[in-house]
Amino acid sequence: MLSILIQKELKNILLSPKFFATFLVCSILILISIFIGINEYNNSVLQYQTNQQIAQQDIEQATGWMQVRNLLHREPTPMQIFVSGLHFDVGRVSGISSFDDVKLVRSPYSDETLFAIFRFIDFAFIVQVVLSLFAILFTYDAINGERENGTLKLAFSNPVSRVQYLFSKFAGTWLGLIIPLLIPIMIGLLLVIVFGVPVSESDWIRIIGLIGLSILYVTFFIGIGLFISSVTRKSSLSFLLLLVIWISGVLILPRMGVMAAGQIVDIESVAQIEAKQEAFERERWESYSASLSEIWGEREQEMEGMTEEERRAYRDEKEWEWLEVDDAARKQVQSDIIENNRTLLEESQNRKKVQEQLAFNLARISPVSSFRLAAMNLAGTDIDMKSRYEESMRQYKDEFTKFTERKQAESGNSGGFRIEVDSNEGVKLDFGRNDQTLDTSDMPRYSAPVVQAGTSFGNSILDFGLLIVFIIATFGGSFFAFLRYDMR
């Protein structure tokens, strides 16, 4: 019985023009997106390698270890082909040196603003927007359309159970949508292999997870379609309702969640934080100079009643002590400022985290957000990509500055330069180094932060779970509604 029903559903779908259209559109979109994604990936790998080389050369040709500035680049990942996530939005490069703050700048989109206008289409986008729409097109009239046609009555004049009937509707539509999803993605993965994209074992696991996630997502939309179709009598009404649900679920709710979080949790702007930092800095330096003049007043007092001779001798005697005291105070101020900057930054980062979590949780009213978040987590192009990179770059920076300081000390060169003005040769800069390049052989190497596939799955487990809960809810609702459905 069930197989007869499923066969019929599948046949009905395979013969329908909407299946043909879906297959065509999905194939074209998925294959093009993967093809372009591969090209884009290869380009970014090339760019990455060139940039690394240039950075290396720049270091070798630096004037001295004190001036050395390393440039670290974000490493492209094959997963960005499928889920570009924030890849195009997060900066690619950060300067690393004692005088640079670690900060990823120059995102791909900021360099190529044209592509930012409509953004790249990737596999995740196609699933999120196109397949969900197709799922609705496949299901909006699944039940009420058959009632309107009159075929429901004829079918149920036979010993057909409602549960089996609804299940066959689901199974037929499911297969009818999963085929146009799986075949192109399989061909796409073949393309990825043929074009020699270095997909690691962990990446394959992620890709499988992503396909599983996409299937869950499509299943949810089939569920909601079946549900609406079995609580309405007219397919025109269910279509309208589903369109409203789709628009709010896919386009509105995720954004609303993020916007609401932005209103609820206030985040200081970078300018505000900088103003705070500056105020603190000014205040510390002012109190420093005040205390300095106080100290000098005290020192003057100590010397009171001394003759000029005595004073000089006293000063000469105390000079180093005083210098050390003053220097210590100055260093204290500097470290206080650094400490304060760090706490302010940390505080703002913590608040950001709170806002982020709230935004995600609000957005998760819509399973579309769950899909998106899980997809980005799986691909490693998620929102934490930036902080992951900056974190590891900060660690590297510590290593790197230690290294340059050591090198500096070893070379015994002040790192300064001399300006000579020669009437014949004009201005001449003397960096005090011979024309040898710097030896970078023992320079610490930076390696991009590694996220285990297991960790990525762990991070997306909540969203997987939510999707499953939504699926169960829509199917439960559909069965409940269809068991009471008036066939006439």
Partner: protein, 261 residues
């Protein structure tokens, strides 16, 4: 042509069937009827008399307010899956899948009816029997006329080969020739031993083949006649007597009669 089988148990039985819709409309009022193997029971009545309601209860599309409908002794509303194994149904407007061919539609619905042993030639035989042109067998249903769809519907019912058949105004909207052919087919099925409950507002056709005619008016079976009793009856009088409500809707009886004969 009827009486020898009457002692057998009825295949279709409505027992004290009453249906009051949610909005308070009493569509059936204590309906009693039985159809035995080899019998045609024609439920005659105008629009809104309760014919479709009766058939819908037999098919468990709606629940009776009280009373029972039995198919082959099985309560259609408490064990619908078992009951429906014993009945085939042709609606007043047979609707099939427009993207499927006649063959594909027949194949699906017949197998849904529990018959999977048929070969294509069996389907062809049935379609030939109901008078569908061979060229139409593999045409998509979306190009079919109403008459062609009714033919597919009866072919499906024939192939399901259930002991009882429910026909809800099967000839309404068919041209006279098609209607006549259809009626002849129904008569053949009765002769094969099927128990047939047919609703219609076409008294002439009913008289032609039925063994029993029940006149339904506002949910009440107001008259019950055997075929023999109908022989000498003046049709116009019968209309006036029992179907006054219906006449008001349809118009002049004479106009209708001219139309149908």
């Amino acid at each position: 042509m009827q009486n020898e089988t009457i002692k057998q148990a009825p295949l279709l039985e409505a027992r004290n069937l009453t249906k009051v819709y949610e909005d308070g409309v009493k569509a059936l009022d204590n309906l009693q009827l039985t159809v035995h193997p080899g019998e045609i029971f024609a439920m005659l009545g105008g629009n809104g008399a309760g014919k479709t309601t009766t058939i819908n209860i037999f098919l468990d599309f709606i629940q009776p307010t009280s009373g029972n409908a039995f198919i082959n002794g099985i309560d259609a509303n408490s064990d619908p899956l078992e009951a429906k194994k014993n009945v085939a149904f042709v609606s007043e407007n047979v609707q099939l899948y427009p993207n499927f061919t006649a063959m594909q539609n027949v194949d699906f619905f017949v197998r849904l009816g529990g018959k999977s042993q048929y070969k294509r030639s069996d389907y062809e035989d049935a379609l030939v029997r109901v008078g569908l042109q061979r060229e139409a067998f593999d045409k998509k249903l979306k190009d079919f006329s109403k008459g062609m769809r009714q033919k597919c519907g009866i072919a499906i019912a024939i192939l399901k080969d259930a002991p009882a058949i429910l026909l809800d105004e099967p000839t309404s909207g068919l041209d006279p020739k098609a209607g006549k052919e259809f009626t002849r087919l129904v008569g053949d099925l009765r002769d094969e031993g099927k128990a047939i409950l047919m609703s219609t507002h076409d008294i002439f056709r009913a008289k032609e083949i039925s063994d029993h005619v029940g006149i339904l008016n506002a949910g009440v079976l107001v008259a019950r006649k055997t075929n023999a009793e109908l022989k000498g009856v003046n049709l116009e009088e019968l209309y006036v007597e029992y179907m006054a409500g219906y006449m008001e809707e349809v118009g002049e009886p004479s106009a209708l009669i001219n139309n149908l004969s």
